[in-house]
């Protein structure tokens, strides 16, 4: 189930910042960290991200619930690298038949996992604390995104959870007709493709109906829309963006000072 609603306390100092400011801060922070391959900068970044958690009104438990795909991904990276890493340099830590874990492998794997978390967490923080409607409003009002795109995407977003129910209905309707894949992988694939096609046809029809209903209420009127919910982008929002950039710079600075900095390019 895809959860779209924000969690945590909405009145926390950073949670109530303008969504565009939050998004910009997260992007700047992330891009700065992508510039290096060392483990120190991401480690500092993660420390910063966890430190600001209360400012976003999030409890660690809520973060874990939102970020579990990341944890799964990290586990996958660890296992894959331990089994298949080409570079087996360093001290041998574990020798279990074909699996040889060396300190070099472990450092590479942990470095990757750290980078994954450091880069992905800001996005998780932003989307876990931002209402989709506010995000669309702010994108239109503060980032000059076209309303046709932002509000259209928001409306389409609302229909997403329906797709899961629809898939289940189509599968059941087919079983009632005597259509079931059984064990053959070929039959399974064919049934999957044909179910997906039926789902797509239905989704397009629903999308078309929604678009017609939106246009009937003047969405395509071509006049400049007014806004019912004003989004402010104030000093505090600028401070968030500047602060995020400064912290990312500091993390890179420490990495350079310690001599661990390894630029991504060059």
């Amino acid at each position: 189930m895809i959860s779209l609603q924000p969690v945590g306390r909405p009145d926390a100092p950073l949670a109530r910042r303008n969504p565009v400011a939050k998004l910009a801060a997260a992007l700047l922070f992330t891009f700065a960290l992508m510039a290096t391959l060392d483990p120190v900068a991401p480690a500092i970044a993660i420390a910063v991200e966890l430190a600001v958690l209360p400012l976003f009104g999030l409890r660690p438990r809520e973060l874990v619930r939102r970020a579990w795909p990341l944890l799964a991904g990290a586990g996958g990276i660890l296992v894959t690298l331990m089994l298949f890493a080409a570079d087996r340099s360093g001290r041998v830590l574990l020798d279990a038949g074909p699996v040889v874990v060396t300190s070099g492998v472990l450092v590479t794997a942990l470095g990757l996992v750290l980078r994954l978390f450091a880069v992905a967490l800001p996005g998780v923080l932003v989307f876990a604390t931002t209402d989709p409607t506010d995000l669309a409003d702010a994108l239109v009002q503060n980032a000059r995104a076209p309303a046709r795109f932002a509000i259209g995407a928001l409306a389409a977003f609302r229909l997403l959870p329906l797709l899961g129910q629809e898939w289940q209905m189509i599968t059941m309707a087919r079983r009632a007709r005597g259509v079931e894949a059984g064990r053959s992988p070929v039959a399974r694939l064919r049934l999957f493709v044909s179910t997906a096609f039926t789902l797509l046809v239905g989704a397009i029809r629903r999308g078309t109906r929604l678009a017609v209903a939106m246009d009937a209420r003047g969405f395509d009127a071509g006049v400049a829309r007014t806004v019912a919910r004003r989004q402010h982008f104030g000093t505090a929002d600028w401070l968030l963006v500047v602060g995020a950039t400064a912290l990312a710079g500091a993390a890179l600075g420490v990495s350079v000072a310690l001599g661990t900095f390894r630029p991504l390019l060059g």
Partner: protein
């Protein structure tokens, strides 16, 4: 505001041979309340879309003229409001107030006027909740009421309603009709398309009937139109009020028990239910939206795994498989014994032609090609689909799609047939055919379970009814399971 003029108007959708609508001459004055009728396929929805300015010029071919307040509907879009059938695809925003505000924003209403107008529109339709309420938390009737508020907030001179209650249970439909009656002022012209004529009549003072081939069949006060043309309209599939269909009672008492359920439930959708289904009996499952009727149909159909209790098939239905529950049977075995007809016919279509669609189940269950042809031909005749054998199922009209979905379930000759709202949105002609078909099946010894809101259908066919209640819900919206016993009422409705 709100005057409508059509002179020889016709519209043909791009890529279609037949005209959706043709040769329509019509005048509707300001403040009139019109019920627009016509057999399925007469172009009622097309006419409303044209009046709302929702038929782009490049999407088809136009004949004659159509004017709202003396101008092309495209030019006066802001004076026309339209509410469609399906609430799910009309609501745009996540919160109720925002959804009503959406149209006002689009029309560039000054920001300080938006919220007062939102509140006024919500009050006019009798909306009970705060405007911050999530739209997803509303029932279908309340969602539709919200959609009506979103349109009324724009203060249209012409209000078009395209079967606004078709997707709702009787309670939700009554809610919408009262909201329409209360919310309209004397200056607003209303054009309403609605199958349930008797319920719609208190809202209108004029009835216009479109002819299937083109033109206007009848036009006048309800008394005049139904008095003069009542018989012919009824024969064409229009729901003329005051004409009941003589019920088809079972020819013989109910036979063997086919399936029983023991404390069958699926929290939080369905509370524990005990019932039995017999051969040669038509059982109707009633109850409000949210009572779990569709879930019960899926469980009986062997399509869902029960959460609690069990579905037990008797040997009369399942032979040696009676020891395993239907949801574990292989699909072909299931299709031979229990047929399911879904609420949305399109969910069930798998192939590219009507013929293949009917042949599919037979081929899956191992019938010879000669048997397949014979049986498919019979079904095509029986359900008036022969002319459409080569057509793509997705291109059928609502009535045709419904008949095909019933026919596909019958193709494998299952002893038990489970239908979810089979008469939903059907014209009178298809409706009568379904009653006759189901009654014949029952008299041939099939068991029939119908989940329905349609009281007339129940009166015409059902031998016994079961009424489900909403599962009791706790404060956080999940259902309590321990105390979910339901009332089971037996008896013939009349």
């Amino acid at each position: 505001m709100g005057e409508v003029r059509l002179r020889g108007f016709g519209w043909r959708h791009a890529g279609r041979r037949a005209w959706a609508l043709r040769g329509v001459d019509l005048r509707v004055e300001r403040g009139e309340r019109v019920l627009l009728l016509g057999p399925s396929g007469a172009g009622k929805s097309t006419l409303l879309a044209a009046l709302a300015g929702l038929l782009p010029e490049d999407s088809g071919e136009q004949e004659g003229t159509i004017e709202v307040d003396g101008r092309s509907p495209h030019a006066v879009r802001e004076r026309v409001g339209i509410v469609f059938q399906d609430p799910q695809t009309q609501l745009v925003m996540a919160r109720c107030g925002d959804d009503v505000a959406f149209g006002l924003e689009n029309r560039a209403v000054p920001a300080e006027e938006i919220w007062p107008r939102v509140d006024e529109a919500l009050a006019r339709v009798g909306f009970r909740y705060h405007r911050d309420r999530p739209t997803a938390a509303l029932s279908g009737g309340e969602q539709q009421r919200l959609a009506l508020a979103g349109v009324l907030a724009l203060r249209p001179g012409l209000l078009l309603l395209d079967e606004p209650t078709a997707n709702l249970d009787p309670g939700g439909a009554a809610l919408i009709r009262s909201a329409i009656a209360d919310a309209l002022d004397d200056d607003t012209t209303l054009i309403l398309v609605e199958h349930r004529v008797a319920e719609a009549l208190p809202l209108v003072d004029r009835v216009i009937v479109l002819e299937a081939g083109g033109g206007v069949r009848a036009d006048g006060t309800p008394e005049a139109v139904f008095g003069t043309h009542g018989d012919a309209l009824a024969a064409d599939g229009v729901w003329v009020p005051g004409r009941t269909v003589s019920p088809r009672r079972a020819a013989a008492p109910a036979g063997d028990v086919l399936v029983t359920t023991e404390r069958l439930g699926l929290p939080p959708r369905l509370a524990d239910t005990d019932l039995e289904v017999r051969a040669g009996e038509a059982l109707a499952v009633l109850g409000p939206n949210g009572a779990g009727k569709s879930t019960l149909a899926l469980l009986l159909g062997g399509l869902l795994r029960p959460g609690t209790g069990r579905v037990a098939a008797r040997p009369e239905l399942a032979d040696a498989d009676a020891r395993t529950p239907p949801h574990r049977w292989p699909a072909p075995a299931l299709a031979r014994r229990i047929g399911s007809v879904f609420q949305d016919p399109e969910h069930q279509f798998v192939t590219g032609t009507v013929f293949d669609e009917l042949a599919l189940g037979l081929r899956r269950t191992g019938a010879s090609e000669a048997t397949v042809w014979e049986r498919v031909d019979q079904l095509l005749e029986r359900l008036r689909l022969a002319r459409l054998a080569g057509a793509n199922p997705y291109t059928l009209s609502g009535g045709e799609a419904r008949r095909l979905s019933v026919a596909t379930a019958l193709a494998t000759a299952p002893r038990l047939l489970i239908c979810d709202e089979p008469t939903f949105g059907q014209d009178r002609r298809t409706w009568r055919e379904l009653v006759e078909l189901f009654a014949d099946l029952r008299d041939d010894g099939h068991g029939l379970v119908t989940v329905t809101h349609d009281a007339e259908f129940v009166a015409a066919l059902a031998d016994r009814t079961v009424t489900l209640d909403r599962p009791p819900t706790t404060r956080d919206g999940t259902a309590a399971t321990e105390d979910g016993a339901i009332e089971t009422a037996a008896g013939v409705p009349r």
